[in-house]
Symmetry: C2
Subunit: 120 residues, 2 copies
């Protein structure tokens, strides 16, 4: 039981291993930004299946992995569900204000797209 | 003379064509972040040759192009020099506070690397 459990512990960078360039790369994708926005809007953790992305399952898994490996989210198995949470505290300690400004920018861009979809 | 000049006008996205994901992608590279930090620290424009990157000339040119095409910098030929400037006003209008928080994060990461280079 123990080894089966530990095999399902996913690797995460420690706080001091999180790199700005990896965080920005992780956020530089519309699907991944959608995930981060939904996690930021919700309270606590969300299962991967709670976040509806218009991509295949394997692409979705890839996006979650990029977010985890960059240090943006944590992923923990709870039973059969992989639960996701933002690493707000770690990101805020390393890069104060960065996550909030990216979230605000994403909201501004969404509002702009809704206001003038033809301008794209 | 006129056509020779106009051929050397480089293409830039208009303000409303600038996309958050492109901006974040442009900033998600240590060399490009170095360029942006130097432009932010300086006053006004800098020539590409004023910014010393530890990469080949063609790689450097590529990085400047990514920054220009994403809308992060403007590039203008003045005589034989290609001059670069941050598009602060456009970025601030679209994504208030984003550039400053990325610059602060880059400064924080540099300070962290200097304090504990072995931790990487």
């Amino acid at each position: 039981m123990t080894s089966a459990t530990s095999k399902r512990v996913l690797e995460h960078p420690a706080r001091n291993e999180i790199r700005l360039e990896d965080v920005l790369h992780a956020l530089a994708d519309p699907m991944r930004l959608t995930v981060v926005r939904e996690l930021a809007a919700g309270e606590g953790e969300l299962a991967c299946s709670d976040i509806d992305l218009p991509v295949t399952k394997s692409t979705s898994t890839h996006h979650f992995r990029v977010l985890r490996e960059s240090g943006v989210i944590q992923q923990i198995y709870r039973g059969t569900a992989k639960m996701n949470g933002l690493r707000r505290e770690d990101l805020e300690a390393l890069f104060p204000g960065l996550l909030d400004s990216v979230l605000a920018a994403a909201a501004a861009e969404s509002a702009r797209d809704r206001a003038a979809p033809a301008a794209r």
